[in-house]
Symmetry: C2
Subunit: 333 residues, 2 copies
């Protein structure tokens, strides 16, 4: 326990970090008052989340881009929606998304429920014309009538309930027991010396000023990215092509502001940044220090921080595959 | 038991069906001598089968078109591969494919192992340039090095072993205990009166001459389809656009010949036929009788046979989701 106290003290001393940064990941996520988590909702939500019939072509599920068998996204620079279309942003991980105060890179959704409604009718993502069409399709599938009834009562297939169920399922997607979690819970052998060194460096240079809290996601903070850029970096990575939060708010003050993304499982979610333009975590760490903190890290410092970030990869819970209900004798649409 | 014996006798009386048609689905599938099924191969095969990184874009897994959460295919007329491309044929179900003597609609693969190699490098399916590229990519993923080692020994990542593992996994995808299976095992209440009537009608008109054996797949038989067509049907369904087995053998004698597909879970695999041109099972049954057997079924007869075919939907085993290994800190390709 002594080392832990020392760590917390060390973290607090930086002035830019509260002691809460040394908290381990909670085992469960809070649910909003109007959508308490139940086993029936989670079961239905898991079906909907993995069902490609929520897309116009029947080929793209939530899980296609936010892959629950991988690090919660698709390892692509940007995702591929219906008919091979791609957008400009990289899919954020669904793992531990329940701990984000807002959703989407630009924070335009205030909840998982609100987020879940978006991609389904986005023409380059899942491509459904409207949620009315989704609801009509789900109503033709007897197994969904039953699953909604169990979760929400009779004749309850609706956009509102579908997104509530998906959000309830997503709240179960938590990856506890990373090396870091074990370390802050008192097992001082859980992290290597290099990882501890990397953690201290990350705190010292200021990474955790923004990537704060147990999910290292700034608890709803928006930050400008990049802060200190120039033509050289822009030509390589095109970070400033996308206005970020300003695309939503239409306010100049929000130009290039982004939700602070979680660092949990970051080693598993390459490529990096909002546009997925950086292929490796080494480079991402170096760029963050340079562009955000105006620090040029040595290779050794980068390696230490990367080692620490690998200590944030958690345990992925074993999940059963949902059995998706069929439409006996009929094509789904 | 009396009823069963009567049934078997009735089936045998038709002259076109051996008593073996009344066998229930075996609980396990035979494996070839050079690829005995092991838990380690099945575990690796399940990972590979669900991993979209086996495609050029990282978006299409075996499971994308042969969906293990659905009826083993995608409910589309024809599947959608990388970059939104589509082909001319409908994905066959992976469930019980282990009982097919040959694979693909045109039977061009003699085994599940051979089949598994095909789509990965098909430019409109998974789009990898070569299996060498697949192997090179898998070798960059540490978790796959371990999983191959457990299944096949040290440094064993290869096309041969990858397809063996996928085939070993597919041999576990069996759906036993359908109403029909329970019926032929002695539970005469397992099928409804209508289902029994439909079964007898299917035998009587000759469906089971080709759809024979416990998987109702003709055990490797090729048959011409359509046999008795005309311009009216061709204009609607374009069945003859595709030469079928002749595309492989280049022999005129094989024009419009197809592997007899399984009827197991057929109620879950709409739309129907090699080109997925028929949306409902009712219509598929009517067309089969008309085009293959030159019989015009009444609506009641169609309904009875469809009821029977629904009795062939089996129990889908509960499966855990594989956890796909990441490439820490690097984009997968």
């Amino acid at each position: 326990m002594l080392k832990i106290r020392l760590l917390v003290a060390a973290l607090a001393m930086t002035g830019s970090l509260s002691a809460s940064a040394a908290e381990s990941l909670p085992a469960s996520a809070p649910a909003p008052e109007n959508n308490p988590t139940t086993a029936e909702k989670v079961s239905l939500g898991k079906m909907l989340y993995h069902d490609p019939r929520l897309s116009s072509t029947g080929t793209v599920a939530c899980a296609s881009c936010h892959n629950t068998m991988l690090g919660g996204e698709d390892n692509r620079p940007n995702s591929m929606g219906v008919n091979g279309q791609t957008g400009g942003r990289s899919a954020p991980t669904v793992w531990n998304a329940a701990f984000n105060a807002v959703q989407f890179w630009d924070g335009r959704a205030a909840s998982l429920e609100e987020q879940a409604a978006g991609p389904v009718t986005n023409p380059i993502e899942m491509g459904m014309k409207s949620w009315d069409d989704v609801v009509a399709r789900l109503k033709t599938i007897e197994g969904y009538q039953d699953a909604f009834e169990k979760a929400f009562g009779k004749d309850s297939i609706s956009k509102d309930n579908a997104t509530k169920a998906i959000a309830a399922y997503e709240r179960t997607l938590i990856t506890p027991n990373s090396a870091y979690d074990k370390y802050v819970e008192g097992n001082t052998n859980a992290m290597t010396e290099q990882q501890v060194r990397g953690m201290k460096k990350a705190v010292e240079i200021g990474c955790t000023s923004c990537h704060s809290g147990p999910a290292f996601n700034g608890a709803g903070m928006f930050q400008k990215f990049p802060v200190n850029s120039n033509g050289y970096f822009e030509a390589q990575y095109h970070f400033q092509k996308d206005l970020g939060r300003a695309e939503v708010t239409k306010s100049d003050a929000d130009k290039h502001f982004w939700k602070v993304p979680t660092l949990r499982n970051v080693a598993l979610t390459a490529p990096y940044f909002h546009n997925g333009s950086v292929k490796t975590l080494d480079r991402a760490v170096w760029l963050m220090a340079k562009l955000q903190l105006n620090k040029e890290l040595s290779d050794a410092e980068v390696a230490d921080i990367v080692a620490f970030l690998n200590a944030l990869s958690g345990e992925f819970p074993t999940q059963s595959m949902p059995h998706l209900p069929g439409t006996p004798g009929k094509a789904f649409n």
